[in-house]
Amino acid sequence: MPCATLACIVATFLASSAALAQKLRVVATTSDLASLAEAVTGDLARVETIIPPSADPEAFEPRPSDLARLKGASVVVRVGLGYDHWLDKLLSLHGDAAVNRRGAGYVDASFGIPLLEVKGSSVDPANRDGHAHGLANPHYWLDPVNAEIITGGIAEAGIRAAPEMAEKIIANRDGFLVWLKARLTEWEQLLAPHRAAPLIAYHNTWPYFARRFRLNIVDVIENKAGVTPSPARLAKLAATIREQKIRVIMHEPFEPEEASQLLARRTGAVVVTLAPSIGSVPAATDYPTLFDYNVGTLARALSAASN
């Protein structure tokens, strides 16, 4: 008899879990937003990502399978600011009002973020940060403090889509943020000895990261997205690296490494590969490990350079 009762409870639990899981389906454009959505929804939702891990999001082109992925989604989470501009086209083809702009399941995660390097409310080709499109620097997930705002938007949309899950979603988010805050203290302590360290980055990916961890990114190698730096620019950067005693060049896995390596050979600086997104390197498997990897790698490189 007790065995039958236990089996009945387990079956009921499994059935209810399956039903809940089927209620919410979250589609995020990037692996970073997907990881935060997983942290908020836990086992209540199935979370999918459009841009494959380790691909360059700024060079991504959607395929027909991505359109199919959007079908039946309860919540769609995007970076916004023109970073994933192709999503507008997919959403207009998809036609489900709930996940289109102003729909209950539509989340532009940039909403409410204290944005850096804001340019305007429309596209200006004469931008200066190397991004071919966009209204501000879009790499805001690289500041862990912004996770609070991003997860807030995801939680609200999740609750709108499935109000009966509200309590669980709020609890998940609160638990995650408390835990993330503790980790942030550790990361800040790791990079504290290197406060104001001058750095060069290949692409203008790191202003939010630099703000959080108090780093000085003096310049970027790639002036315009996708355009190889000119020799005159490289010569100027080499002079800057020597003048300001810059020891580390921050590079990303999918960027061409010739220019960074050339500068490193010429100046003695070290090229450090950091992960701009989850999946960019094998060690960055979720949002916390993204910072474990980046903070750890950068702290080690800066310590080695100062010795």
């Binding site: 380790s54 360059d56 390097e117 490289l234 050339l262």
Partner: protein, 430 residues
């Protein structure tokens, strides 16, 4: 800084000269065989091989990566050799074109399986000659030296095979295969560093320039080397001066050298009678084109003063005689004020940017609301700047509406009358 400029330029220039050395020789044979785009097809086959290697988990620079590229290039060489047999009924360039597009499409399909493939394809296209190392240069010299020496030894049958229209014999097919295989090895090596576009220039432009001045292969080779070296130096140092990507500037420099060589051949070194005819033809065609463009530009100003007028803008920039002169005093004052305000807004945006940027690592961290306030100000100022630009554009259009009768109409009249006069004189001369 000057030392850096020299250091960044020396190795790429040396590499470009080495590439010119071997590619001019192959280019001359490519021109004789009438297979100009064989290089692109082989380079694309090589890129396909390298892409397959990347997807299979090998680095492009590794031995496995090179082997993949070489095997695919060898397959391309075999296909090109075989296509010459079909060329009796259809031009061989058609087969080369098919090979190129199939190799390109296959590369895209293979890249689709590799998350970082797009970057790899772009690199194959534009290359990275600026970052060539001394070790790579030594390898290029050794490899190309060996291939060059080998070709020197077998130059007679190779050239005979290139010139022989009877392409059905096995002997010819053998020399063809040897040519394409060695060509494939050279292309595979150079595409990884210089990219498909620049390798095509190294191959075709110096050979074309050499062929313009001499039908003797030795002399054409020397002239091609000189032209290629001059174009490489102009491209690499030009990219410093223009602060522009080296590969793209070098391609343009090669094109400029070809145009200059063509002009020298037509107007200076051609036989006296031909030279005289070329000069007359040059003056007439050039004059006709110039007058026609002036006429069209003037007409366009009259029809659509609010449109884009690149020629008129260039004339205005050169003479300082712009639409401001055709504004009323009130309009001119508003125009200048809008320019000043836009400039002031830009300065304020830069000041806010610097303030936020410095706060990332200096002093106390800015509060999120302060960052939001700065962002909001930057956005507002950017939009206000656009508003001022709109005012300037509107006033410039008003000026152009008046300018069209004083500048556009005379320009159109002068252009079309000039073109008609040249055409009439040409007809009379006949």
């Amino acid at each position: 800084m000057f030392e850096d400029v020299l250091a960044f330029a020396a190795l790429p220039l040396a590499a470009a000269i080495v590439f010119t050395g071997i590619h001019t020789w192959f280019g001359l044979q490519v021109l004789r065989r009438n297979v100009v785009f064989a290089d692109l097809a082989l380079a694309q086959m090589s890129a396909l091989g390298a892409t397959v290697a990347v997807v299979a988990g090998h680095a492009v620079q590794s031995i496995a990566g090179y082997a993949y590229a070489l095997i695919f290039t060898a397959v391309g060489a075999l296909l090109l050799t075989g296509s010459r047999g079909f060329a009796r009924s259809v031009r061989q360039e058609a087969f080369i074109g098919v090979l190129y597009v199939v190799a390109t499409a296959s590369t895209v399909l293979v890249v689709d399986r590799s998350p970082q493939g797009a970057e790899h394809v772009k690199k194959m296209l534009v290359g990275g000659i600026l970052s060539v190392t001394a070790d790579e240069l030594v390898k290029f010299i050794a490899l190309y030296g060996a291939i060059g020496a080998f070709h020197w030894l077998i130059r007679r049958p190779l050239l005979a095979a290139a010139d022989n229209p009877d392409s059905g014999t096995r002997q010819i097919a053998f020399w063809d295969l040897l040519f394409y295989l060695s060509f494939g090895v050279v292309v595979t090596s150079s595409v990884g560093t210089a990219g498909v576009l620049l390798v095509f220039c190294f191959l075709i432009v110096p050979a074309l320039v050499g062929s313009l001045f001499s039908s003797r292969i030795g002399m054409a080779l020397v002239i091609g080397w000189l032209a290629g070296t001059a174009a490489s130096a102009a491209g690499i140092f030009g990219s410093f001066l223009l602060d522009a990507p080296t590969g793209a500037v070098t391609v343009v420099a090669f094109a400029a050298v070809l145009v200059i060589a063509g002009a020298v051949r037509a107007f200076i070194t051609a036989p006296a009678k031909e030279r005289c005819r070329n000069r007359q033809l040059g003056f007439r065609v050039g004059g006709l084109l110039f007058c026609f463009v002036l006429g069209l530009s003037g007409t366009w100003v009259v029809i659509a003063p609010a449109g884009d007028h690149p020629l008129l803008a260039a004339i205005e920039m050169a003479t300082g005689f712009g639409p401001e002169r055709f504004m009323t005093s009130r309009e001119r004052a508003d125009y200048l004020e809008a320019g000043l305000i836009e400039h002031r807004h830009k300065g304020e945006i830069d000041r806010l940017y610097d303030r936020e940027r410095l706060s990332r690592w200096q002093g106390d961290e800015l509060a999120p609301d302060e960052v939001r306030r700065i962002g909001s100000m930057q956005q507002t100022l950017t939009e206000m700047g656009r508003g001022e630009r709109f005012v300037m554009d509107y006033l410039r259009t008003r000026g152009r509406e008046r300018e069209r009768w004083y500048v556009g109409l005379p320009l159109a009249t002068f252009g079309f009358i000039g073109a008609a006069a040249i055409a009439w004189r040409t007809r009379r001369a006949r």
